[in-house]
Subunit: 240 residues, 2 copies
């Protein structure tokens, strides 16, 4: 009975850690969606209100870490349990960054303010954001269900986001050349496009830790040579 | 004697972890320096050669994590030792990102290629990079020496980097408006400026974990309201 009690208490503590990560995931997803919507709709009020959401996500990240250290110190877990805790901490760190990026997108929406670029400027950016949202949603799903197939699919999807970024870069550069008055707003949008691309990078980092948790292999970085800059070089070489 | 032997073995394992982090720090510092130099000098060959350096840094990050999990599983450390290991893992993750950013700066140098902007375009960016290098160097020093005063100084220095970015943003926007043929190269430089600013953000993340290791307080995020976008809003409001 005593042993059973201990195991149960440990399981509950472990679940406190993973539940926090899942809660973070849900909040981060909502924040990213809302920030992109506020940017596209030019809704400055909504964008301003999103900034405080990020603080709550930061607090959850700190809670995950605190709970993880607590569990390790008290329960001295090994093998699969230790991997579970480790991946939770790394995933929380990535989610926290996605929260930061979303907050920064909201702040760029405020910066853009009434100096909005003409309609059509954000078409590629919007498609790109839809894809990034899907990557983020899928990887959180993969974490919740320990679904390594879905995690692999997220890893493989990242190159598509790089292609979107490259298309977005060329679209915005073209607008800047056509109308110099749009340069400042397009520069902000270029930055937002980069943030969206980075949300995708964090989704792949998370996918790697989902795989680590399931399979026990330490992620050693994605295959090199498929960086965003390589996609840009390919596309710009074709003539922007 | 047995206990003494165990303690010694544990200390050695712990040192394997922290030594790897210190080695990563030295390599990352060199890579960042070299990438910025290659960009400013327009040295495409040198920039191309830097890409492989980053793979070695990624491998070290994986080694830190592997060694950390190994030590936790075998030795079941608590309190200060556990903090030591935890901060090593988080710092290694930040250094790995700085390595990625440096590699991406090198790749943008290749993209810029012979389509270089006219002299003077990168003056603010160069000053900014010098400051970021100092932040990175100081925080690695603070980690090696467990120097919380230096770590605090790095935390306080980050706002200066945001101010540099804002100045750089305005300088590049001005060049773009003056000469539309410079738009593509200046867009790449804007992106490099953002990468340099992010190197600074990682330096502050590392500073927080140096403080965590020394003082035992989980970092709860920097004081909010001092984001890059806030500095931009202040400066652009004044009229770019």
């Amino acid at each position: 009975m005593e042993r059973e009690h201990l195991v149960k208490a440990f399981d509950e503590e472990l679940r406190t850690v993973t539940d926090r990560v899942v809660e973070m995931g849900a909040r981060v997803e909502r924040l990213f969606d809302a920030a992109v919507d506020a940017l596209v709709d030019g809704d400055i009020n909504r964008a301003s209100n999103l900034v405080i959401e990020d603080a709550q996500i930061d607090a959850l990240d700190a809670e995950v870490e605190e709970a993880a250290i607590h569990v390790i110190a008290r329960r001295q877990p090994v093998a699969a349990d230790l991997r579970e805790i480790f991946s939770a901490v790394r995933i929380a760190a990535d989610l926290e960054r996605v929260g930061d990026l979303s907050k920064n997108i909201a702040k760029r929406a405020v910066l853009l303010g009434h100096d909005r670029p003409k309609p059509g400027t954000t078409t590629v950016l919007e498609d790109m954001a839809v894809f990034a949202k899907k990557q983020l949603h899928d990887v959180i799903d993969a974490y919740i269900n320990g679904d390594s197939v879905k995690a692999e699919a997220v890893l493989n999807g990242d190159v598509e986001l790089d292609t979107y970024y490259s298309a977005c870069f060329r679209q915005l550069i073209t607008y800047m050349m056509e109308d110099t008055r749009s340069i400042t707003s397009c520069a902000h949008l270029l930055h937002v496009a980069k943030s969206v691309e980075r949300v995708g990078d964090h989704a792949t980092n998370i996918a790697e830790y989902v795989l680590f948790r399931v399979k026990g292999e330490i992620p050693r970085g994605r295959p090199k040579g498929a960086d965003l800059e390589d996609v840009l070089a390919r596309d710009l070489g074709k003539g922007a």
